[in-house]
Structure formats: C-alpha cells, structure tokens
C-alpha cells in the first residue's frame, strides 16, 4: 500500500498536470509495469484533491465567515468608539463611563449570536497616542479627548484545520478577527442646524481688552447678555466689563428670521434658517417678538432639570438632558462678524418670563457637546464639539 501510493504520487507530480500522452517514468521506462498497482489510483487522487477541495470550502466558509466577523467587529468598534468618546468629560469618572458605554453597547458577531468580549478601550490626548487603558483612568484626565476601541472576535475555523494539518501541522483551528476605531471630540465651526438665534458680543474691541481668540474674553460661570434691553439700560453681569456692550435699537443680539413661528422653531426646536460659519457676517435682525419669552420657557421645559441655577448643580442632577445647553455664535464687537461659537447654559425657566424690553442672560460654560450636551467636554478648544471617527 505504501509503495503504491508513492509510485502514484511521483507519477502524478512529474507527468500528471502537463502530459497528455502516455506518461513515461523519469528513468525512461514505460509506465506499464506500474499499471499492476493502479488499484486505488482514483482513491489516492481523491485523497489529494480532497485537500484542495476542502481548501476551497475553507475559503468559502471560513474566510467568508471571517469577512463577516470583520465587518461586524468594525461596525461595533466604530459605534463603541463614538459612544465612549461622547462620555469623556475630563474626569476619571468620565473615562470609566466612557469604557462602560463602549463595552455595554448592544452588538454581536457570528450573525449576531455572540456578544463581544475582551474589548480593549483606551484614551489619549491625540490621535497618535500614547494610549492609556481606560480601565485605569489617567489622572488628571483633562484633555483626554480621543478614545480607541479594539474589538476582537475569536472565530472557530471549520475547514481550515485540514489545510493546516496538510501544510505542516500548524494550528488553524481558530482565528481572532480584530477591528480598531478611534473617535474624538472635535470642535465644530459650522452650524446648519441647532445654533441658538442670539449672539453674545465678544471682548475683542479696545474697550473689551482686545480678546480676539477663543474664548474671546468670556469667563466660565459668568452670565452674559444674549438679548439686550430695548432701552440700552441694562445688561448682564459679565458684559459690565466692556462699556461698548450696550446695544440698543434693532441690533439687540438676535439673528436669523423674525417671523413668530420661525422664531419659535429656532428657540424651542433647533431650527436654523441659514447655515452659519466662523468668519461670516452675522445675519442680525430685530426679532424682538413678545412670543420669544414663552418659546425659551418651553425650550427649558424640555429639560429634566428646569430649576438648577449653576452648571455644576445641573450636571449633578441625573435628570438633566442637555436641552438647557445651547450654542450661540459669538459676534465681534468691532465689525459684527462671527468669531466662533460658544456654549452657554440657560437660566431657570422663571428668568425669561419678563417682557419684551428687558435683557436676557445665559451662563458661559466653555465647552459642550452638540449631540449629547448632557456632558461637558474633556478639554481642548473651548466651544461646541462634535464626536467623530478619526480612524
């Protein structure tokens, strides 16, 4: 049996694939003497080709399975990185929340039948690292705005082990498919939807100290005027530092559209009539509608916390959902252009109930997320940020 297989093998290897005529053995003899032992030739060829056929099956089934697992793992890694990066707030607890959000996201592999385990979550201050494991949060965690998720799916191979055994016994019984995604909090400089229709004035003029770069002279926790009083007689505490911040007449800080219905959509529903980008002239309008006060109250009432008066107390209240956190364009005191976008916190709903002539205030909070503004940012550029995939 052993001899027979060897002969057949050498014949196949030398003459099989290329020769159409009667095969001649390498030593020049006809193959006729061998013919006596041709019993099982088909069987032997079958045995050899079975390896190739199972290899094809392995490619179709195991490799196909791996491609799908890779696709599933990548979808999970992308979503988990985004979910995690949303929770980063510059504190160690924020990093732990981020890890929990990433690993707790509903996802599966192997046709949704296995859930992901062993997911690695890391945080960093830049896209190039160095990466710190989120299981032991860095201290301080300020400026950790990048989050990397490595998802892995340990797949069992069904047909590849045959190839592995044939190719020298290497273990091909399982293969771990990995997917990596990096998400980060990045500043947003263009708004197509969601910018609040008021524009506080920066301190970039001579009387304000010439603060031309972010945060344009604003101090976190201070109240600034978003709508000026009709008679120019009153302003919010923070604006007292600049004598040129009193505006009267039509330029009272309102921009956008001034039909009552549109104003209601703008204030209570994030409607934005026109896109706004840093550097363009603010499209200011009069817009002193008496209905705006009610619109602001309904905006505040969309939040779970309508009463806390400081941003810290608001964040500590688990009922808050971010609706009192707004993004407003910051207009230049010098020429009225949009210098950038700032994030502000609306006061409690009783603070806006007065008439159309008084001033309205909001607290500058430095940084906030646009989509999930229930979390402050983790540091970096002041202003609104978006969470995006960077890798």
């Amino acid at each position: 049996m052993r001899r027979m297989v060897r002969v057949v093998h050498s014949q196949y290897a030398v003459a099989g694939p290329i020769c159409k005529k009667e095969p001649i053995m390498p030593d020049g003899r006809s193959r006729i003497p061998v013919r006596r032992s041709e019993r099982g030739f088909v069987l032997a060829i079958m045995a050899l080709s079975a390896v190739a056929i199972i290899g094809c099956l392995g490619l179709a089934v195991d490799l196909g399975h791996m491609y799908i697992a890779k696709n599933e793992a990548q979808a999970y890694a992308d979503a988990a990185a985004l979910a995690g990066a949303l929770k980063l707030d510059g504190s160690g607890a924020g990093v732990t929340n981020a890890k929990n959000a990433a690993t707790g996201l509903n996802a599966g592999w192997n046709f949704m039948s296995n859930s992901f385990s062993g997911t690695v979550v890391e945080v960093a201050t830049s896209a190039s690292g160095p990466w710190t494991d989120a299981g032991s949060p860095p201290s301080p965690a300020t400026n950790y705005t990048y989050l990397r998720v490595t998802a892995s799916a340990p797949l069992s191979m069904y047909f590849m082990p045959v190839i592995g055994a044939f190719a020298g016994g290497s273990s091909l019984t399982s293969s771990t498919v990995k997917a990596v995604a990096v998400a980060a909090q990045l500043p947003q400089t263009t708004f197509n939807v969601g910018a609040f229709p008021f524009a506080p004035i920066a301190f970039d003029g001579a009387t304000g100290g010439g603060n031309v770069s972010a945060p344009w002279g604003f101090v976190v926790g201070q109240q600034y005027t978003m709508r000026y009083a009709a008679n120019g007689g009153s302003e919010c505490a923070g604006d007292g530092a600049d004598s040129n911040h009193i505006k009267i007449g039509s330029a009272r800080g309102f921009w956008g559209d001034n039909s009552a219905a549109v104003v209601a959509g703008q204030v209570a529903g994030d409607l934005q009539e026109e896109s706004l980008t840093t550097g363009q002239a603010l499209p200011g309008v009069g817009g002193a509608k008496t209905t705006i006060a009610g619109d602001i109250v309904s905006r505040i009432d969309q939040d779970g916390d309508t009463t806390d008066d400081t941003y810290a107390a608001y964040l500590a209240n688990p009922a808050h959902n971010g609706r009192r956190v707004i993004t407003m364009p910051i207009q230049s005191e010098v020429d009225g252009t949009v210098l950038g976008f700032g994030t502000f916190f609306l006061l409690d709903d009783a603070s806006y109930g007065h008439g159309g002539n008084s001033n309205w205030c909001a607290i500058y909070i430095g940084q906030a997320n646009v989509a999930d503004s229930s979390n402050p940012g983790a540091g970096g550029t002041p202003g609104p940020y978006q969470v995006k995939l960077v890798q």
Binding site: V42, M46, G64, Q74, A75, A107, G194, D372
Partner: protein
C-alpha cells in the same frame, strides 16, 4: 488514459466515481451555497451599518422615540438602496425592500440617545435553502446628530 477501465476493475471504478463525484458535488454545491449566502450577508451587514450610521447623524425631527415617517423612510432607503433620497432604486441584495428595515430610536431623559437599525423577515434565497433573517444584521450607534423637534424633515 482510460486503460484502467478494464475487465474486472469496471465495478470498482463505477463505485469510486459514484462516491467521488457525490462528494465532489456536495463539496462544490456547499462552497457555492455558503459562499453566496455569506456574500449576501456581508452586503446586508454593510448596508445596515451604513443605515445606522446615517440615522445617528441625521437631524432628528420628532419629539418622541417614534421617528417621523420621513426620517424612517430616509433611513430605510439608505439601507436598501444606499441612498436616503430613494432616487436610486436598485436594492443592495435581491428582494430587499424598505419594509424589511426596522429603525428603533432609544430615548433617555427625553432626548434621543441611540439608533438601532436591523432587518426583519428578509428571506435570503440561497441556492438550496431559504434563510429568513430576523433582527439580524443589527447595528446600534449612539445618536450624534441634532435633536431638533422644531424642524420639518425633508427627504
């Protein structure tokens, strides 16, 4: 070449051929079946992922966890045609229709927090078997878009 089909070995060759070709046909059809089914599933996984990603970035115009019809249609069209406007009408997989796509919105504290897109009752017609996919593929993304109940959705 066919010298082996001789007198006494005839029966053995037929048996060998029968067994061998049976196994071959099984292996080849298995390869095709699995290859095709996996190829379609991979396409569906990609399509559902694209739809979920799109839903997570799109402005959310409803004030409850029931999305507006326009929002749902746009996400369904994104999954099925790879195009939220529905201008393209070639589905990414044979027989896939917008009705097979589920869009589920999770609200927390009164604002949208997650978008889950999945397929339901889609029949994957592989060559030898029909596989009904329910709740798979399924992809969940955190909501990253603007919650803007004051806007009106346009597809």
């Amino acid at each position: 070449m066919f010298h082996r089909f001789q007198s006494s070995r005839k029966g053995s060759a037929i048996v060998e051929f029968a067994v061998g070709s049976g196994l071959l046909i099984l292996a080849f059809s298995g390869t095709f079946e699995f290859g095709y089914a996996f190829y379609i599933y991979d396409n569906l996984q990609t399509a559902v992922n694209n739809g979920a990603k799109y839903a997570s970035l799109r402005t959310y115009d409803s004030n409850s966890s029931t999305p507006s019809a326009c929002f749902t249609t746009a996400v369904q069209d994104m999954v099925v045609y790879g195009d939220p406007t529905g201008t393209n009408t070639t589905p990414v997989a044979p027989g896939l229709a917008p009705g097979n796509v589920n869009v589920a919105v999770t609200f927390s504290n009164g604002v949208p927090s997650q978008m889950t897109v999945s397929l339901s009752s889609y029949t994957l017609r592989a060559v030898f078997a029909n596989i009904v996919l329910s709740n798979k593929p399924q992809v969940t993304y955190p909501f990253l878009g603007d919650y803007a109940p004051g806007t009106t959705c346009t597809q």
